[in-house]
Amino acid sequence: MIEAVAFVGRKALAFVEHLGRIALFTTRCVATALRPPFRFHRLVEELYKLGVLSLVIITVSGVAVGMVLALQGYNTLVRFGSEEALGAVVGLSLVRELGPVLTALLTTGRAGSATAAEIGTMVATQQLDGLRMMSVDPMDYVVRPKAMAMTLVMPMLGALFTTAAIFGAYLVGVALMGIDGGTYMTSLEDAIDFRNDVAGSLLKTLLFGGIVGLVATYRGYTCAPTSEGVSSATTSTVVIASVTVLIADYFFTALWGV
């Protein structure tokens, strides 16, 4: 019995210690972001790696999701004779919810895991120690640009995903199901409000970008210096970031109303 209590106590202490480390890591990351040197060239490199190299997967996934959504939406709406509302249904669900969340999940899978693996490999091959010995802070040179790039790139990728999905839905709704193109666009425009929907969506993706960036860099930075450690960091990045994004989405939606 005492052993069981001790086990729970050790686990609880380890969890609290872990939370403390994440808080310290986040504080250090934010502190280095406010302190020169700002290393804009490193930020641009990371924006390219995390953003530009994700364009294809985001665009293709966006179009596919939009097409499926239009198909499902049309089949439901047509039962009530409201198929002209397809633009509104698709647009609202994409802008408010599916766009930000699916973009965050896709980016976690592609760029978040790559970030954790890259930093983890640098730990395992002593590249971060090498930077320290050259009097270069790895938080400043490696972690900050990656976390910042992830935060900045997520709203842009989210906007691209939503746009591609609306286009995909247009293709199915207008070209395949025969809805009038003008009706589709008017319904979309009338339903979406900039402040409540678009701004909220962008803020959501900014928050998700910060979460994914911090989780990926933290897991990579603190991984064991072995191939197993790198593999574990990559997997846990996808799991932790995805779950955290979904939980944060609930609270953001509840508080913001988006």
Partner: protein, 281 residues
């Protein structure tokens, strides 16, 4: 065991200590690496930390570089106690140090040129032409030509070590730490790199601290040897150690210890595996 022409007189290794470990103990978790070690590394000489695998050679270099902290004791580098320094303060001390890691630790997204130029771009105010000249001179000094645009993944093991050495030396540090420079290299490359170390040391007078388990090379090139044996540090010149009556030193130098360790380890593993392990074996 004869000394080569590289090694200078034994009195030289008793000069002023450039780096000092004072009563240092270190453990990783519950596993002690060493306890209450005290020794120094003389200024301007080649010192080799010699010991078997897991004896803590790399840890000693990391302690000097401030990459790990001792549990007790202090580490003094050029008069500065690095033990209690904050990370930011350590960066100032590290400007006097260069370190070549066992695997090179080259930044794998950068070319050879950019790797060697990296410390210059970060820590100096030289223009592009000055940086290019210095990088090419340093690469030539370690025997590398026409490798500017190669990535670390395109280099052989010996080339990686030489690029790493060039990077460690590019800012002309006063102390250079070199971790296992001869591991995984063929005998020809070993001799090439060994000669390179001696040449650089004799020309620049920088303090070189190497970790190695390669006995012949150590005996040829070292001015000062720190042997880590069973948790003890034994300091001497190669000549002094070769003439030592200490049974542990004699066993290690004749490499009998290696065989004994293997046999002991096999026995230990068989005991740990239990009856099924033994029968399976």
């Amino acid at each position: 065991m004869a000394e080569s022409a590289y090694t200078r007189d034994s009195a030289a290794s008793r000069d002023e200590d450039h780096v000092l470990l004072d009563d240092v103990s270190m453990a990783y978790g519950d596993r002690p690496v060493f306890e209450n070690l005290s020794f120094g590394f003389p200024r301007g000489k080649i010192s080799v930390v010699l010991g078997g695998s897991g004896s803590g050679k790399t840890t000693i270099l990391k302690l000097i570089g401030g990459l790990v902290r001792p549990d007790t004791g202090r580490v003094v580098v050029e008069g500065d106690d690095v033990t209690r320094m904050k990370e930011r303060e350590l960066y100032v001390v590290r400007e006097k140090l260069g370190m070549m890691f066992q695997g090179g630790a080259l930044l794998d997204s950068m070319t050879v040129f950019d790797n060697v130029a990296f410390p210059l771009r970060e820590r100096s105010r030289r223009n592009k032409h000055e940086i290019a000249d210095k990088v090419h001179n340093r690469l030539r000094s370690v025997g590398l030509h026409d490798v500017d645009d190669l990535l670390p993944s395109e280099l052989s093991g010996g080339m990686v070590k030489r690029v790493a050495l060039a990077r460690a030396l590019i800012l002309d540090p006063v102390i250079v730490l070199i971790d296992e420079p001869f591991s995984g290299l063929d005998p020809v490359t070993v001799k090439l790199i060994e000669a390179l170390f001696v040449k650089i040391n004799r020309e620049s007078g920088m303090t070189m601290i190497l970790s190695s388990h390669h006995i012949p090379t150590t005996m040829r090139m070292a001015d000062n040897v720190i042997m880590i044996l069973q948790g003890d540090a034994i300091r001497g010149t190669p000549r002094e150690l070769a003439r030592s009556r200490d049974a542990r030193i004699r066993r290690f130098l004749t490499e009998e210890v290696a065989e004994e360790d293997v046999l002991e380890r096999v026995d230990q593993l068989q005991v740990e595996a239990g009856p099924s392990g033994r029968s399976g074996g």
